[in-house]
Symmetry: C2
Subunit: 343 residues, 2 copies
DNA sequence: ATGAAAGCGCTAACAA
DNA sequence: TTGTTAGCGCTTTCAT
């Protein structure tokens, strides 16, 4: 910074003003330009440590998650969070309590670094409390079911998932669409079913609850699916998850039916790689983990920056990036603020 | 810090010395104790930003990985790395280039924060170069196949995996053990096969390459496995990965054989949760991702601290923590330094 | 419109 | 054995 100042023939305070975009109406335009040019040439990068020492703003976001290291999707949420953060000039520190270190220890470590805000995810069907450590920070929840409505929540839009899955099946010619659901009454289970019903209704197909099978796992599930196929002869299946899709595959194989020819199967999955391995020809709707992470960071940063000064977002920030997926995951993602759905 | 100094009636430099454990032979023992006590009471936590501004040591480790967010195991490596790091007073910043942000951008962000060292993982069968950005830092590679022998590598010990898997099958009474391998000649493929052969040899079972099937995927794999079962009648299978194990399941189902009764199956898997869903009754050997992450950090920190001063490790640091797994993953992990296997 | 200077919390060389 | 002091790189108030 001193080098830049010297080379530009100005003082370091001027450089500081320019580099922080606080120069409008304060520094002569041409000088500002010169400073920027020289800073660029010299490859000057502000030292974030020094900056945060002064401002007590670290540009570090904490991402706290529980019970998560055993699932494939963490990486995706993290990825989305990273991407958004990096576009906004932040960095994400990830922490989970799954390992041998307790979450208190871990968040303690985080606290010392002085996060600017936190992402918290507890992707279970249980209603959970937000950890006390976090409530005094700007905070955004991801896929977390809580009664605490103080914080914005980014979650998947299960209704849309059910709706879209059913639509695809109908579009491809299916008439009798079975829903292989989860016997545990999760929010996803109920809401996807609503989406399914709504789409059937729109398509003029009568809802028939003989085509529903809410199953648990293993033999029980296999028997239920087998029975459903035998008695109802569905031509398509919408499955709650990879495991449920797999039961359909297994039964189809046993009964001499071929997926893709005799029946269509669409399912919700955590990870396409996994689905492709065990259930080839399954059309997988991936849960929008990447998008949730991405969006949550966008929201969190807006919270943080509103709280201080109104810094503008880089222009190239795309709230939700386009995806390769034929079913755009972006529509399966929504933000809740104070109990009202914003988007 | 100033508060602590005032309350203890000493100067801040004394406090600094004590807090950094530089007090032996410099500060009177009782004063040191007093300072520590008061610091504790006041809940004093050193500000890492200020510290690193002064020392240009950040206590942040960068974890750079490529092509990784689509796999379940990242989270485990990260977890292991986090646990070790947190025990050693470090924090891990994870970065992958999978998302929309390029790796250069991401590592640039990391560089500015001034990592103390890096973990790098490129878990492909291809031989890769270490990124130029990283070579000037203390660096440890994880599960990465490279010709560059300047850096220590932590990887899974594929020989042991093959050996153990075969041993378990033999111990449970198997006589004709098939190996369902990968037709792509990966290192893991070759080395596990060596372990398999070695164990057979030790058990006095002749090696029979009719019991080998190196397969790719889908129908080709299914046919090959079916053929092997029909012609060789193996009583046990050692499978290269989840997918190969699944082909055995599928064929067994088609041929009326029951896994666990008629045949035993053991397989290497990335993730037990996934295996349990699709291949129940499979004995899964999980790859030691957690351990690799953990151990890599231990090594990296020792590199970093040797380079500066010889700071001691916390006493409660267990190089590799005990696992619940019936097959201890620790034995499947090894460290390579300068082309020679250390441990 | 620009510069001088104080100080964020800490470390380490030097003085006492 | 302990205290004094000079910065680490940056932001920001206050003069100019």
């Amino acid at each position: 910074m001193k080098n830049v100042a010297d080379k530009a023939g100005v003082s370091i305070s001027t450089v500081s003003l320019v580099m922080n975009n606080h120069d409008s109406g304060r520094v002569k335009t041409e000088i500002a330009a010169k400073v920027r040019k020289i800073a660029n040439e010299l490859g000057y990068r502000p030292n974030p440590m020094a900056r945060s020492l002064r401002t007590s703003k670290t540009s570090i976001l904490g991402f706290v998650a529980e019970q998560i290291s055993s699932f494939p999707y963490v990486a995706k949420m993290l990825q989305g969070a990273q991407d958004a953060a990096s576009k906004l000039g932040y960095v994400v520190l990830f922490v989970t309590s799954d390992g041998s270190t307790s979450q208190e220890e871990q968040t303690a470590a985080l606290q010392r670094y002085g996060m600017d805000g936190f992402l918290y995810s507890q992707p279970s069907s249980q209603v959970t409390e937000v950890p006390d450590d976090l409530v005094h920070y700007p905070l955004v929840l991801i896929a977390t079911n809580t009664v605490d409505n103080r914080f914005p929540i980014v979650e998947s839009s299960e209704f849309d998932i059910g709706y879209d899955a059913t639509k695809r099946l109908i579009d491809s010619g299916a008439k009798r669409i079975a829903y292989i659901g989860n016997c545990v009454p999760t929010i996803a289970q109920a809401t996807r079913l609503e989406g399914y019903r709504e789409m059937l209704y729109k398509a003029g197909i009568p809802f028939d609850d003989n085509l529903l099978a809410n199953v648990s796992h293993n033999d029980e599930a296999l028997n239920a699916v087998e029975h459903l196929i035998e008695t109802q002869h569905p031509d398509a299946f919408f499955c709650y998850d990879d495991a449920r899709a797999w039961y359909v595959y297994e039964c189809a194989a046993r009964m001499g039916l071929s997926v893709g020819r005799d029946i269509s199967v669409i399912g919700v999955g955590d990870d396409k790689t996994v689905s492709d391995t065990f259930t080839p020809k399954l059309t997988t709707i991936e849960l929008p983990y990447y998008e949730m992470g991405y969006w949550a960071v966008c929201k969190l940063v807006s919270l943080i920056e509103k709280q201080s000064e109104g810094v503008m977002f880089p222009k190239d920030l795309i709230p939700l990036p386009p995806l390769d997926s034929p079913i755009p995951a972006r529509i399966h993602c929504r933000l809740i603020e104070n109990e009202s759905i914003v988007s």
